[in-house]
């Protein structure tokens, strides 16, 4: 397997460094190679997106096993649909996350009910600091976030995760969720207000 440790898409990193053109060119070339089923280019995309999709799903589902299954399903669907991807204004990351979101919706539909968000698996996985004090503090912080995120609407939670956890820009999030950019902004605003309020009520403010 091609061992590329690229956890973030090139555009997001290079945007900050003013090297967007080169990055876009690079990503576009890799995607074009991947569309021709070039194994190394596909490995690159897999390495880049599988961890992010997994993390996104884990936060939605709170269950590592389910996150693993749906992330894997997302990657297969990406592979299958890749030849049809067109460079027409939808960033590649938005396209991948849209597949992940659709897989998530299908999964929930199959389950026949809305899955309760539990971040226990996340908190457990995050608490890797060896210091007991730091571990306790981290665990408490995740517990507060867990409760607060669970109380948001599904759309608000999607926006919070895509924006603040995954680091996507508003335009990309709008493409993932099929909403206008303005709507994403107000969803963000409402989500943040709700989170602040919930966490203040819980005394963690």
């Amino acid at each position: 397997m091609l061992a590329i440790a690229l956890a973030e898409p090139l555009d997001r990193i290079l945007q900050q460094e003013g090297a967007l053109d080169s990055a876009e060119r690079q990503e576009r070339e890799i995607i074009q190679r991947a569309q021709r089923l070039d194994q190394r280019a596909l490995a690159w995309l897999y390495e880049c997106y599988y961890p992010r999709v997994y993390s996104y799903l884990l936060l939605q589902l709170g269950d590592a096993q389910q996150a693993e299954d749906i992330a894997s399903e997302t990657m297969l669907k990406m592979l299958e649909a890749l030849p049809r991807y067109k460079f027409r204004g939808v960033p590649f990351s938005a396209w991948v996350f849209r597949i992940a979101r659709n897989c998530l919706i299908d999964h929930r539909r199959r389950r026949g009910r809305r899955v309760e968000v539990s971040l226990d698996a996340v908190a457990e996985a995050q608490a890797q600091d060896p210091s007991p004090a730091a571990r306790a503090e981290m665990s408490e912080r995740y517990e507060r976030l867990r409760r607060a995120l669970a109380q948001l609407t599904d759309e608000q939670r999607q926006v919070v995760i895509l924006k603040f956890v995954q680091g996507l820009d508003n335009r990309t999030i709008a493409k993932v969720l099929g909403r206008r950019e303005g709507a994403i902004k107000s969803l963000q605003y409402r989500a943040l207000q709700s989170l602040k309020r919930i966490m203040q009520q819980e005394g963690g403010g």
């Binding site: 460094e17 992330a71 592979l79 996340v122 995740y142 956890v165």
Partner: protein, 645 residues
């Protein structure tokens, strides 16, 4: 939210993602700071949720599914490709590759270090460069160049006093692993360079230990293992170290090397260490009685396996040591964990614990002796913590970090932690002195000196030999008194037995007994031992005569001193006609001066057994000597005993 606040919030998010800290972001917006702070704090908490990566096994499972699907799609696609493949398409592809190559070269010139957000891009670009290099040898050379570049970057971080992130280490791992994989197959001219580079990288990464970021520990262990395996591969050793053998971390051991009954098991100080063909040995390596430094992996089962062995000093060789005094007595002192006897009493007058001293010392058979001792300057010991006490538990590992609880304190043990195990093994109950430094909330052990360890774990041993007699509850197997398992049927005296046992307080308690051959049997037997003599058609293995014929299949290159396993037919005269011989552990196990083994012809009376209770039996069976004639009478466990821990 007001537009102004919103814009400031967006900009601060970008800045925080670039690695700026919260306070410097807020300083840019003093008027909005009060409103921005809680928003940004919330952002940081949420962002931290994304740091969770899928477990490696999940990633591997998903990749297998992905690549299977890819293979399926490719098999359908390939036919179409061939139809359209034309000289024009080939020329176009080449042009794309050349243009990409130029662009990538320019990007790779970026000066970002591993702590920069741009670094990931730099690595990706480097990887694409490898990707478009088709010639295998050129690809290996490029990977080595990249590994050298990563080496310089890590060194720069160390020079700047910065922490080293996991990405820098995984990049080294990837380059070295891939380059050595290619060079092991092609045997190119770069192989020697790869070998030397791997050695340098191994040293560098060990130095990274104290500066390692907390989340980089797994990468650290995996990278050291890959580099070690790359060295083995390039050296032509057909073996490698498995990750589970170092799963609980790495430690350094220093002490006098001593053989045990098993040729693969050595004691360094009092700590048992597994040494085999996957151990890289410098110089003469492990020689009985010589002080060595061993880098050992701690396996998931707690077993130590040596990765490298470096001899430190020979008797008579002079050393100059400099370090902090940890203990002073009239006739000896401890400097940096090394106990040094004083040539003359009173030499250490005026020297106090905590002083920095320079010692000129030499080795003799008893250890280090100081010929000259000179204080240098007092050292600020404020940041150093010295704890002496009993170990509350065995070494344990959690989340990839090795920890040890001593006297109620939890110490993190890094590969750079020097362990001096002369006084005993690193076990629960051992009295130890730990010299540690506070790093954040963690106490990092810099040195561990085992003062005394009286709580050894039971040793698991295997005893192979003839059941010579039964005395009460005890069986005499090849001269070793063995307590049989409860209700075990008693084999006939004269039978050859293989006994799995636990040695506790001098008693060998059998847990499992297998009868290899009955007393009258002349069937196939299997034995393991050291070759002490090799003559035309006849070898001696731990006192047993092995008849070697042209039909005997020999695996490996046996030499006097080799450890071998023999399968053969037991002859009426007690010798074994070998059908198959396997040399264990390669040639490095063959000692140039093999353990002197009393020779005998099969008809002779066997040499008396090592334990005083043993009653030598005149039965002319070969294996009565098999376990008794190794010349290592000090141990109740015979030479054939194999720790199976």
């Amino acid at each position: 939210m007001r537009e102004e606040l919103w814009r400031a919030f967006e900009e601060c998010q970008q800045a925080l993602r670039r690695g700026e800290d919260l306070e410097s972001c807020l300083q840019r917006y003093p008027r909005l700071a009060k409103e921005l702070r809680p928003l940004l704090e919330l952002f940081l908490q949420l962002r931290a949720l994304g740091g969770h990566l899928p477990p490696p096994e999940a990633r591997a499972r998903a990749w297998i599914r992905f690549s299977q699907e890819l293979a399926r799609l490719q098999s359908g696609r390939r036919r179409q490709v061939w139809r359209w493949l034309s000289p024009l398409a080939v020329a176009a592809s080449l042009a794309v590759a050349i243009v990409s190559g130029l662009a990538l070269t320019a990007l790779a010139a970026s000066r970002s270090l591993p702590d920069s957000p741009l670094y990931r891009v730099k690595l990706a670009m480097a990887d694409v460069q490898v990707f478009i290099t088709w010639d295998e040898e050129a690809k290996a050379a490029l990977l080595l160049d990249q590994a050298e570049a990563r080496q310089r970057e890590v060194q720069k971080l160390l020079d700047q006093g910065k922490g080293v992130p996991g990405i820098a280490l995984s990049a080294i791992r990837s380059s070295v692993g891939r380059a050595s994989g290619i060079l092991a197959k092609t045997g190119g001219v770069e192989a020697q360079r790869a070998l030397e580079l791997s050695e340098r990288l191994g040293d560098l990464i060990l130095r990274v230990g104290p500066r390692l970021r907390a989340d980089a520990y797994d990468d650290y262990i995996a990278t050291l293992t890959t580099i070690h395996n790359a060295r083995l591969l390039l050296m032509g050793q057909g073996v490698s170290v498995r990750l589970e053998e170092v799963a609980a971390g790495l430690i350094f051991l220093e002490g006098v090397g001593r053989r045990t009954d098993d040729p693969r098991l050595w004691r360094v100080g009092q700590q048992e260490v597994w040494v085999d063909e996957a151990t890289i040995v410098s110089g003469e390596g492990l020689v009985e009685g010589r002080v060595v430094r061993v880098l050992a992996g701690v396996g998931a089962n707690g077993r130590l396996r040596a990765l490298t062995v470096t001899p430190l000093a020979l008797p008579g060789v002079e050393l100059v040591l400099q370090g902090v005094v940890e203990e002073v007595q009239d006739d000896q002192l401890v400097v940096e964990g090394r106990r040094i006897r004083l040539l003359q009493a009173g030499m250490a007058q005026g020297v106090q614990v905590g002083d920095l001293v320079k010692v000129r010392a030499y080795m003799n058979q008893e250890g280090l002796v100081a010929a000259e001792l000179r204080p240098i300057t007092p050292l600020d010991m404020a940041a150093t913590i010295i704890v002496e006490g009993a170990a509350d538990e065995d070494l344990s590992s959690s989340q990839g970090a090795v920890t040890w609880r001593v006297g109620g304190h939890v110490f993190r043990v890094l590969p750079t932690t020097m362990v001096m195990a002369e006084g005993g093994a690193l076990r629960k109950g051992a009295r130890v002195r730990v010299i540690a430094r506070q790093q954040g909330d963690v106490l990092v052990a810099e040195r561990i000196l085992v003062l005394e360890s009286q709580a050894p774990l039971p040793r698991v041993v295997a005893v192979q030999g003839v059941l010579q007699g039964v005395e009460g509850r005890s069986w005499n197997v090849g001269g070793v008194q063995v307590e049989p398992p409860p209700q075990a049927p008693r084999p006939e005296p004269g039978s050859i037995l293989r006994v799995q046992a636990v040695e506790e307080g001098g008693t060998v308690k059998a847990t499992d007994v297998v009868v290899i051959a009955g007393p009258e049997s002349t069937g196939m037997v299997h034995l393991r031992g050291i070759v002490s003599r090799m003559e035309e058609g006849q070898w001696t293995v731990d006192g047993t005569i092995i008849v070697v014929t042209p039909e005997t299949k020999i695996s490996g290159k046996p030499a006097p001193g080799s450890s071998v396993e023999v399968w053969g037919e037991l002859q009426a005269d007690g010798s074994v006609k070998a059908a198959f011989v396997e040399v264990l552990g390669g040639e490095q196990e063959a000692s140039p001066t093999p353990t002197p083994t009393p020779e005998r012809t099969p008809q002779e009376t066997p040499t008396p057994t090592p334990t005083p209770q043993a009653t030598p039996q005149p039965t002319p069976t070969p294996s009565s000597a098999r376990t008794s004639a190794s010349g290592q009478e000090a141990s109740p466990v015979p030479a054939g005993a194999t720790p199976t821990r």
